[in-house]
Amino acid sequence: MPEPILRVKALKKRFGGLLALSDVSFSVAEGEIYGVIGPNGAGKTTLFSCLVGSLPPTSGSIRFRGREIAGLPNHAVVKRGLVRTHQIVRPFRDMTVEANVSIGAHFGAGKRRGADARGRVAAILERTGLGARAGSLAMALPIGDLKRLEIARALATEPAVLCLDEVMGGLNPSEIVAAMSLIRAIRDSGLTVLMIEHHVHAVAGVTDRMLVLNFGEMIAEGVPRDVLQHPEVVTAYLGDDAGAA
């Protein structure tokens, strides 16, 4: 079996007295779509923050493409090919959509400049459906486009692994269908995708395997059908009564 592209072992994150992540371990194979689900406050976003280095993990190991990256600063992890989007979108509001995306192209793993960067940015804008918006200021975009802008900027860094934090939150059903096909297309272009989603059925429809977190602990991992029938998962989502029924 080939070495997984991302291998997390005994990852722990403590905030004072709160253990936000305790002993999280999993592996993601190249080309997989891997889901991370769990109720509010389960530690999903903290997990992503630790992976990309925007928060330093308390302990544990994160091996990415065979090298240890735990403790590296965020920008260094991005340059190695692991990038995330933010659940609460964080566009550079006073910049155009194109300028937003070109930051990723200039400073990500690709480090492209000049015409090379512009070509790459144009291609990504087309692919994410933002082509017509290239010249608009980010502050003028509706939420659906801002979510796409988050993905476009992350793609512009030319990652090997893309971590999507609730990109479907706040989207309407037809936008969710479009987002799911975009995620599949991203995977088919050779990337590995990790995705946090609140929307359990949306994530089950698109992921190969998934991980369930509850209060910072892993309670299940596997293919979506098995995971969603796991008694602890049912309890975590629906409460004790539903688990007993």
């Binding site: 990309v52 925007s54 600063p73 965020n74 920008h75 260094a76 991005v78 340059k79 990038v83 995330r84 933010h86 964080r90 566009p91 550079f92 509001r93 006073d94 910049m95 300028a99 070109s102 930051i103 990723g104 200039h106 400073f107 990500g108 793993a109 400049r113 900027r153 992350a154 512009a156 860094t157």
Partner: protein, 312 residues
């Protein structure tokens, strides 16, 4: 508007370079002060305006340039040859301050820079090789106004050109991203510390060059003059009043500031009041037009343009 400000900038540059041909010495002195103010404002704007890191410690760099030049001139060096040395020292010092200070954000960074500026002034007043609080005098025969004027004019033009190039480059784009959302910038691979240090070093070096020329022109420096906190304050006020983060804004602010200062200094009763008047101007700008004089001009110009098209 873009073409208009480019035309205005080029005319200003030509005027500054050609001024010795037709202006008398007294007026030329005022143009020298204007060029000095343009350098300080535009250089500060690279870090403070483009990257949003508001430093109130820039007198430190001015003083490092000034002291380097005086000390090396006293050792027998040509004052003008000491300029790059002062610039390099200021850049190194800016990195030394920046490494800890850039860990702080927003107002905390600003407060730290006030501390650094004051600490440098106190140090310069208490050690002996700087002449302590009584200061140092340039060696006799080092005064050359014509040469100094030319150097100051060229440096002012170069500073504005460098700032414009930085703003348009990938480096400038990284600074803009840092200004708007530093965490989002990091999340896209921008090494924010490195870019902030780079912008700090570049602007510190330019300010030190101006400080060296200042020392040569005034022939005498003391901690109370070149490391003065009011100087740091003026450096910040000019770009803010003119239009922070733009190219023309700091130049406009410097124009207003140096004109105001020259006019007020000539009235004995108002000699010390220029900071008060400037502070009032700052409050007015912050309240009514945070984009400064340039923002105001843009609004007026756009309205007239719209009216022109509506009439046509």
């Amino acid at each position: 508007m873009r073409r208009l400000s480019l035309a205005a900038g080029v005319s200003l540059a030509v005027f500054t370079l050609a001024a010795p041909l037709f202006l008398e010495r007294g007026t030329l002195n005022d143009v020298w002060s204007l060029a000095f103010a343009v350098i300080l404002a535009s250089a500060w704007n690279i870090l403070g305006g483009f990257a949003g890191q508001v430093s109130l410690g820039y007198s430190a760099f001015l003083g490092i340039g000034a002291y380097t030049t005086v000390l090396l001139s006293l050792k027998g060096m040509d004052p003008f040859l000491s300029l790059p040395i002062g610039a390099v020292l200021a850049a190194i010092f800016s990195v030394a301050i920046g490494l800890p200070a850039f860990r702080l954000r927003g107002p905390y960074f600003t407060i730290a820079t006030i501390g650094v500026g004051e600490a440098v002034r106190v140090c310069a007043s208490s050690v002996s090789f700087t002449g302590g609080s009584s200061g140092l005098r340039m060696p006799a025969g080092s005064f050359d106004f014509t040469r100094n004027y030319e150097a100051m004019a060229v440096l002012a033009i170069l500073t504005v050109v460098v700032a414009a190039l930085v703003k348009r480059s990938a480096f400038g784009q990284a600074l803009a991203a840092i200004k708007q959302d530093i965490d989002a910038a990091e999340a896209l691979g921008v090494n924010s510390t490195r870019f902030k240090l780079g912008a700090h070093a570049l602007s510190a070096a330019i300010v030190a060059l101006a400080g060296s020329l200042y020392a040569i022109n005034f022939q005498y420096i003391a901690p109370g003059s070149v490391f003065d906190f009011r100087l740091s304050l003026s450096i910040v006020l000019m770009p803010i009043v003119g239009g922070v983060g733009t190219i023309a804004g700091p130049v406009l602010g410097a124009l207003v500031f140096s004109t105001l200062q020259i006019k007020l200094l000539s009235i004995p009763a108002l000699r010390d009041s220029y900071l008060f008047i400037y502070g009032t101007l700052l409050i007015v700008v912050m309240l009514f037009e945070p984009k400064g004089i340039l923002g105001l001009l843009r609004r007026v110009f756009n309205r007239r343009l719209r009216r022109f098209y509506a009439d046509a």
